[in-house]
């Protein structure tokens, strides 16, 4: 088999995963997209393992590790999402901005003039 087939498939799958990670709003779906990315890597590794005829089967071993890591990650990730959902009432990523700088600065003084004067003081 041409190595290009699995390699290209993996590359495309990875990019689809990238899109999902960046575009999905629900954190669970983002996690799913991450799984896609990891699976693309797995496909890569398996294909390379077969291509290289690796006596140590490093590729397959790493694939197994990756699958395990992915499982562990999704378990923990879902726990985190549930935690967030419980405390914030939403699984949407783009509504979780309480720790961002904008929010942090807006909390105390909303206007930008205060920000500007602060800048003056800094200079």
């Amino acid at each position: 088999m041409h190595l290009a087939y699995p390699a290209v498939l993996a590359a495309l799958l990875f990019s689809v995963g990238v899109y999902g990670v960046l575009a999905r709003r629900n954190a669970v779906l983002v996690l799913m997209s991450v799984e896609l990315m990891l699976n693309a890597v797995n496909l890569n590794l398996v294909a390379f393992d077969a291509w290289l005829r690796d006596a140590l089967h490093a590729g397959q071993a790493l694939t197994l590790f990756t699958i395990t890591i992915a499982a562990a990650e999704i378990g923990l990730g879902l726990a985190i999402v549930l935690l967030v959902f419980r405390t914030r009432g939403t699984p949407d990523i783009d509504r979780l901005t309480a720790l961002g700088d904008r929010v942090a600065e807006r909390q105390n003084s909303a206007d930008d003039t205060a920000d500007a004067s602060k800048g003056q003081a800094v200079s």
Binding site: M1, H2, L3, A4, Y5, V8, L9, A11, L12, L13, F14, S15, V16, V18, Y19, G20, L22, A23, R24, N26, A27, V28, M32, S33, E35, L36, N39, N42, L43, D49, A50, W51, R53, D54, A55, L56, H57, A58, Q60, A61, T63, L64, F65, I67, T68, I69, A71, A72, I74, G75, L78, A79, I80, V81, L82, L83, F85, R86, P91, D94
Partner: protein, 216 residues
């Protein structure tokens, strides 16, 4: 040269892209299905459907693994991903009260940036791999992916990461439990009603998945 470094054949393949073998045809077809499922999975507005399409994509990948003679990996894929990860994801969707049916705001405002980045990534990666592997040929049929061979390599060569992985899994398990236990549960006498919500769903599954992997 050390034998540690395996080497694949870069010699021009005996067969061109236009005269595919049967395996290749199957691989490409399944690959298209996988890709399509993946695209739908990240694009659909029905959140639960997304999870189901993910099942298709991951299952397809398991077939691809089989085609690449990595039987053991394929079975693990089916067991872990289809058996537990997707179930976990579905649970997650349910627990976060994902709406059944279309949800118009499934995608965030970041979509166009996402598309741009994804396309750039796809372009880069495809260019890279096509450029590198345009002539490479996988000599299948070496049978290097059976459970015994893979297991042997795991326990002979990759003992250390394997052991480290046990710490990882345990930590993930404990972490998932402790995070999904609600704070009230730490209080000596929780109200009975809270117990159900505090059930460590994700953690239990996460715990199960490694064990299944280990046993197999």
């Amino acid at each position: 040269m050390s034998i540690l470094a395996a080497a694949g054949s870069l010699a021009p393949a005996t067969r061109g892209f236009l005269s595919p073998t049967g395996v290749e045809i199957v691989f490409v077809l399944v690959g298209l299905a996988v890709l399509g499922a993946a695209v739908i999975s990240v694009g659909t507005k029905q959140l639960v459907h997304a999870a189901l399409w993910l099942v298709v994509a991951l299952g397809g990948l398991a077939i691809e693994f089989l085609l690449l003679t990595a039987e053991f990996v394929a079975w693990v894929q089916v067991l872990i991903y289809l058996g537990s990860v997707v179930v976990l994801v579905l649970f997650g969707l349910m627990l976060t009260k994902a709406p059944i049916g279309r949800s118009p705001d499934a995608d965030s405002g970041n979509r166009w940036v996402a598309l741009l980045v994804a396309l750039a990534a796809a372009g880069t990666l495809v260019t890279l791999v096509v450029d590198a592997f345009r002539t490479s040929w996988i000599d299948l049929g070496s049978g290097g992916g059976s459970a015994s061979v893979t297991g042997a390599s795991l326990f002979r060569t990759w003992v250390l990461p394997f052991e480290a992985l046990s710490v990882l899994l345990l930590a993930a398990l404990v972490g998932a439990i402790v995070l999904s236990r609600s704070r009230q549960a730490a209080v000596p006498k929780p109200r009975p009603g809270k117990l159900r919500a505090g059930k460590p769903v994700g953690a239990a599954r996460a715990a199960k998945s490694p064990s299944s992997e280990r046993e197999s």
